[in-house]
């Protein structure tokens, strides 16, 4: 069984519209989502604003009650068995919040160690290690309010690790970080997974999801639209493209190309310089040799391959629909 199990999970919010409290409106923030995450996996929830990512994470971190459905982490129900669960998990919300700004970095971590019952003997050592890990060792005794945004975010990471959690939840951890800061953070996340921790993160940065996540779930409007490894998600896309520039083009080449499995369309653009074939396909790497074979007695100038990106996958799934 997975470390995280989510089955037919739903969460509704009741919001009142306008000043008159009686106009109630139900928002289906999470609408029948199911997935499982294995130990040591980095699992990504990808989706636009309002997709239901934060709500899902809050349910899993025992901060929010599900309206219906099942959510268990490490075999404990997230609502009802939180006593056991809370010791073993932690979460990081990608913002500067969730810290005591008027206290020093060290005092912040020390307080959270106490809340997580870290034995006094281990405390000092752990805090120092964590501060070193996030590169704040020389700022340990400065007040958090004097920190830059990136530093606060790194301190948050340290805070999320005070109890040495088995499962770590991260909600848009790199939001607002500069490229270097985001890179450092991704490195830390990878290290944590290598240590055998299970990580569930949300993001709306495609490249980040692509680089970090073993598997990605794409959600929108509370529904799960796709769930797979980044590779497999891209495999199913027909938006990959092989572009071939030719001096001459034999008549039957196009029809023979169209006969290759995984090629969905071939368009020919001809001008006074020659011909350009635009081959729309899936898995361009795998069919490259077949394409080459069919081109043998044409005079090829150049071949270009553009693989579908996660963004293509995402845009296709989310479609023209605007985020909430």
């Amino acid at each position: 069984m997975g470390v995280i199990v989510v089955k037919n999970l739903r969460r509704e919010y009741e919001t009142s519209l306008g000043v008159v409290k009686r106009d109630k409106k139900i928002v289906h923030a999470v609408n029948d989502i199911s997935f499982e995450v294995e130990k040591g996996e980095i699992f990504g929830l990808l989706g636009p604003n309002g997709a239901g990512k934060t709500s899902t994470i809050k349910i899993l971190t025992t901060l929010l009650a599900p309206t219906s459905g099942e959510a268990t982490v490490l075999g404990h129900k997230c609502f009802g068995e939180e006593k056991e669960l809370r010791k073993k998990i932690n979460f990081i919300f990608g913002s500067e919040r969730s810290l005591y700004w008027r206290l020093s970095a060290y005092d912040n971590l020390s307080y959270f160690c106490d809340l997580y019952h870290v034995p006094e003997k281990m405390k000092k050592d752990r805090i120092e290690k964590l501060l070193e890990m996030v590169g704040l060792e020389d700022r340990a005794h400065y007040r958090v309010e004097t920190f830059s945004k990136g530093m606060k975010q790194r301190l948050q990471i340290a805070r999320g690790l005070v109890n040495d959690p088995e499962v770590l939840f991260l909600d848009e951890p790199t939001i607002g970080l500069d490229p270097m800061g985001a890179k450092t953070l991704r490195k830390i996340i990878k290290q944590l997974a290598e240590q055998g921790r299970t990580i569930l993160l949300t993001t709306h940065y495609m490249l980040e999801a692509d680089e970090l996540c073993d598997r990605i779930a794409i959600i929108n409007k509370g529904k799960l639209f796709a769930l797979n490894t980044s590779e497999k998600l891209k495999d199913n896309m027909d938006s990959s493209m092989i572009e071939v520039d030719l001096h001459t083009l034999r008549e039957d080449t196009v029809s023979r190309l169209k006969g290759i499995e995984n090629i969905t369309d071939v368009k020919v653009v001809t001008d006074d310089l020659g011909h350009r074939l635009k081959i729309e396909c899936r898995n361009p790497r795998q069919i490259m040799s077949l394409v080459n074979e069919q081109l043998y007695d044409n005079k090829v100038k150049s071949i270009n391959m553009r693989e579908a990106t996660l963004e293509d996958v995402y845009l296709k799934i989310i479609g023209g629909e605007q985020s909430a």
Binding site: Y13, T61, T62, L63, L64, A65, F79, E82, K83, R86, K87, F91, F93, S95, R97, S98, L99, Y100, W101, R102, L103, D107, S110, Y111, F112, D114, L115, Y116, H117, R159, N163
Partner: protein, 261 residues
């Protein structure tokens, strides 16, 4: 158990450190008692020492203590919610009420400090000698009073954890309490129909008891009745607060009220 004690102590320490770095709080702790002492003194100037002690000393002491304990505890929930720390502490393995208890204790210690400042102020500024007829009963009354205030603060903090209208609530119970409890004038002045409300609030009893121990007790039974009353409302607060924290855990998560709107 031991870890709970540690959490209470750590939260108490954190609370005091944080409060002290807030200038608004320094104002409440230091300036408020001074200003209140002056105001109350001017109102009662020329009266005999006993009246001065009863109203100027006690009035300032109780109001500054009450503000510090209940209203800072209430405000803290709001502040923590705003900082996003409410969620983080809520989902730690420590029971939420232990954390809040630590914070309230922190505020109480500061409140006691504030009370001493006000005592000192009145003594030094106006040279009113602080004399007590029954020092022991006075200490007992204050002690039970403080415990009662702690439970009220816990109750309020719970109420505020599940309600987003924190500020409104805070502002609408601050002054009415001072009026209802007879801080500045005896509650006999109030219309009869509001008096039951007065007797639901522990400051009423604390003031009454303290005044008796200052001015001398003519009927010891009256003192015991008031002590009993204080005990009963305190137990009511305690029960309500325990019940409250039990439902907070579920309600806050069902209604998603932990975060900022």
């Amino acid at each position: 158990m031991l870890s709970d004690v540690k959490v209470v102590l750590a939260s108490c320490r954190l609370q005091m450190k944080q409060s002290f770095s807030r200038s608004m709080f320094k104002f409440c702790i230091l300036a408020y008692p001074i200003l209140a002492a002056i105001t109350f003194y001017l109102i009662y100037a020329g009266q005999n020492d006993q009246t001065l002690i009863s109203y100027v000393f006690l009035g300032t002491a109780i109001t500054s203590m009450w503000s510090s304990i209940s209203f800072s505890s209430a405000g803290d929930i709001d502040r923590e919610r705003f900082m996003g720390a409410l969620e983080v502490i809520f989902c730690s393995p420590t029971r939420f009420r232990m954390i809040m208890f630590g914070k309230v204790i922190g505020n109480t210690l500061l409140g006691i400090a504030s009370m001493f400042i006000s005592f000192l102020m009145v003594t030094l500024l106006f040279q009113v000698p602080f004399t007590l007829t029954h020092p022991l009963l006075f200490i007992v009354s204050m002690f039970v009073g403080i415990i009662s205030f702690i439970f009220i603060a816990m109750l309020l903090s719970g109420l505020l954890a599940i309600s987003r209208n924190t500020r409104v609530l805070m502002n609408c119970i601050d002054y009415p309490v001072f009026i209802l409890c007879g801080t500045v004038f005896p509650i006999e002045v109030l219309p009869e129909w509001v008096r039951p409300l007065s007797y639901l609030l522990s400051p009423t009893y604390v003031l009454e008891l303290a005044r008796m121990s200052i001015n001398g007790i003519t009927d010891i039974r009256l003192f015991y009745y008031h002590m009993l009353g204080l005990g009963i409302v305190t137990i009511l607060y305690l029960l309500a607060y325990l019940k409250f924290y039990e439902i907070i855990d579920v309600k806050a998560r069902k209604e998603a009220t932990l975060e900022v709107i």
